[in-house]
């Protein structure tokens, strides 16, 4: 027994020593893209996210500086149990340093715990739930592209201001739908509107007619779609069939991706208002990236904001690693470094990562063009409003994230200024 304990201590000491000396020059990184490769969200993430990660690795230029970067990807099938199994396997056996994409809110919240437990890193670009940087925030997670608070804040507020003060929700019955409905309801009520009713439908439904009839009967001015992917496209398509819009009600797709608009066609999608943080035709930088991206995509698709986020997030991660001079394989340390550096890339512009892990950048309110206004394939959006980064997301003063409190306490004790004070 004694012998075993002394071996253990010796072993630990040796491991620590080896780790310490390796820290400075370890230039190996393993990136894992954990996404939906086969299900209803695979067009907005999936193979495109893996391609975006590949492009980020190439564009980082680290290979030329002697870094060795590996990339693997896996399909979590939108199931939290499968996702956490893969995440554990990746971190423990494959020595993956960073998990990218992780779309689907249920999956993201589950993986969030694994990453925290193992002191790894997740840059989440796909999940919507704002809980990732609020009650469930973690020092190991950065939430990159969008969240339910921001969607509610931007789309919800704009619509209520435009006079649409009564709502009825069609909500996907899982973590994401609940979060989106909750956050949007808060914004509506705050802006003086009212929610007349809500119906929760199972994920991946193909028929929405019953739910749409209930929405129609509610006489609400807006039918809010708190769902995503195939659920949203089917609801929009069937809403037009049941004459929801023709009958005077308006549809609000609270979360709509360019791949959804593409699959709906402009005839059905025209006139929809919604929020995104990336659009391929926004400026020269986004166009240049998107051209390279779509040239390499099998179906020539333009990148969704989730895929753009994978590229942008990974570039910032590499930048931070480079600034550290090596990969310490320590999640919290790297994420802290990422938070301390300003973000800047061609896709999302200048921004920052807040103490709660929230990446800050502007949000854009778009309207889908009429078929006559569209000049060619993928020319779908009209920009109708921009919310600056500091107003788009949940302010730190409203945050329930324990990290914020801790930082604030440190500030009062004379530590570093918190992000909210800097702003």
């Amino acid at each position: 027994m004694k012998h075993r304990i002394s071996t253990l201590i010796l072993g630990t000491a040796l491991a620590l020593a080896a780790n310490g000396s390796a820290l400075a020059q370890d230039k190996t990184v393993k990136v894992g893209v954990l996404t939906d490769n086969s299900g209803l969200y695979s067009d907005l993430g999936g193979a495109g996210s893996t391609l975006a990660a590949q492009m980020a690795i190439e564009d980082s230029g680290l290979a030329a500086k002697g870094w060795k970067i590996d990339l693997i990807s896996a399909d979590h099938q939108n199931k939290p149990d499968i996702a956490t199994t893969i995440a554990r396997q990746w971190i423990d056996v494959e020595k993956v340093d960073i998990l990218m994409d992780v779309l689907n809110s249920g999956v993201a919240l589950a993986v969030n715990n694994v990453v925290k437990e193992k002191n790894s890193i997740m840059i989440n670009t796909g999940a919507a739930t704002s809980d990732l940087t609020n009650a469930q925030c973690s020092p190991n997670t950065v939430h990159w592209v969008y969240d339910t608070y921001m969607l509610a804040n931007s789309t919800g507020q704009a619509l209520v201001k435009a006079g649409a003060d009564t709502w009825f929700f069609l909500t996907a019955d899982y973590a994401f739908g609940a979060a989106l409905e909750r956050d949007t309801t808060a914004v509506i009520v705050k802006s003086g509107g009212k929610v007349l009713g809500t119906v929760k439908h199972p994920l991946n439904s193909s028929d929405f007619s019953s739910f749409l009839l209930q929405a129609q009967a509610s006489k609400a001015k807006i039918v809010g779609l708190a769902n995503a992917g195939g659920d949203t496209t089917n609801s929009i398509k069937q809403a037009s069939e049941f004459g929801i819009v023709a009958g005077g009600q308006k549809l609000a797709g609270l979360l709509l991706f360019i791949t959804d608009v593409h699959s709906l066609g402009l005839n059905v999608a025209q006139g929809l208002n919604f929020t995104e943080t990336f659009y391929w035709d926004l400026n020269d930088g986004t166009r240049a990236f998107s051209k390279r991206f779509s040239d390499r995509m099998k179906n020539k698709a333009q990148p969704s904001m989730v895929q753009a986020g994978v590229y942008s997030g990974l570039l910032h991660y590499f930048k931070s690693l480079e600034a550290m001079g090596g990969n310490p394989h320590d999640g919290i340390k790297v994420v802290d470094k990422m938070k301390s550096l300003p973000t800047d890339d061609a896709l999302f512009g200048k921004g920052s990562i807040r103490v709660d892990g929230r990446k800050i950048h502007p949000a854009y309110l778009f309207e889908v063009k009429k078929p006559s206004e569209s000049k060619g394939p993928w020319d779908y959006y009209k920009l109708i409003g921009t919310t600056p980064g500091d107003q788009a997301f949940r302010p730190l003063s409203e945050s329930a994230c324990p990290l914020v409190e801790r930082t604030a306490r440190r500030d009062r004790a004379g530590g570093f200024p918190s992000a909210s004070q800097r702003d």
Partner: protein
Amino acid sequence: MQALYAQLLVGLINGSFYALLSLGLAVIFGMLNIINFAHGAVYMMGAFVAFFLLNGIDPPTLGSFFTNIWMTLLNLVQWPFVGWKSLPATQTFHVDIGLNYWWALLLAPVIVGLFGMVLERTMLKWITGLDHLYGLLLTFGMALIIQGVFQNYFGSSGLPYAIPDELKGGMNLGFMFLPIYRGWVVIFSLVVCIGTWYLIERTRLGAYLRAATENPTLVRAFGVNVPRMITLTYGLGVGLAALAGVLSAPINQVRPLMGADLIIVVFAVVVIGGMGSIMGSIITGFALGVIEGLTKYFYPEASNTVVFVLMVLVLLVKPTGLTGRAA
């Protein structure tokens, strides 16, 4: 109360899809003794064929695959004369077909049905007489392959297919707004269901079919080509699924996974109705659509599971299904 009537009607519409699909399954099971797990995949193919017939085949999707093969062959032939450098590397390749919904309704079931017959001749034929399990595994594998190929080329979010102009719009029934297209689906599938039932239960051809599955040796002795009858039956079942696919294309997105989402429910319908019973599957198809519609009204969260709960209850009371005969 008004909303309730509306839900009943909407349920009936979904029920017509269940009925059409479970009818095809029942025909195939009753005649061939195969539990056809590829049924969802051929339903999806029906919708895709309708899409191709209307829009043709585009370069970014299936076209690029054929273009590459075609251009390579062409280059190989021309290369000795013009040299490799001057050959066109890529060329857009678009087969414009432009056949509307009505043609698709007629042609897609035939095309997919023929595809089904090829499958039967090349694969299913070898497992006749074996345990059900072999058929189930084989067809399940085929379904996965077909879905995989479509998903690889077309992604998951689907392609748009518009409602035909003649059936656009809707009627105000007082208690609900009924899209004309949905009304058409109910009527059309009722006609097809009853027609199929009549064909199998009341005509001479149907009598041969039923006899051929009952006692193939005896029927062959009367000079009937039994293997051909079986191939035709499989083709008919697959064609019915493809027909349902075309009918659903304007309502749902044309997606590679549309069949996979539906097929489990349809299997439950067939089990509740009684495996192999044609009238049973038609009636349960419509009835379950209505029950599901009502669940969506009273307790939406359970709408995806209510069919399975019913299945368990029915099997507990009557293991052969509602109209099934004891084996």
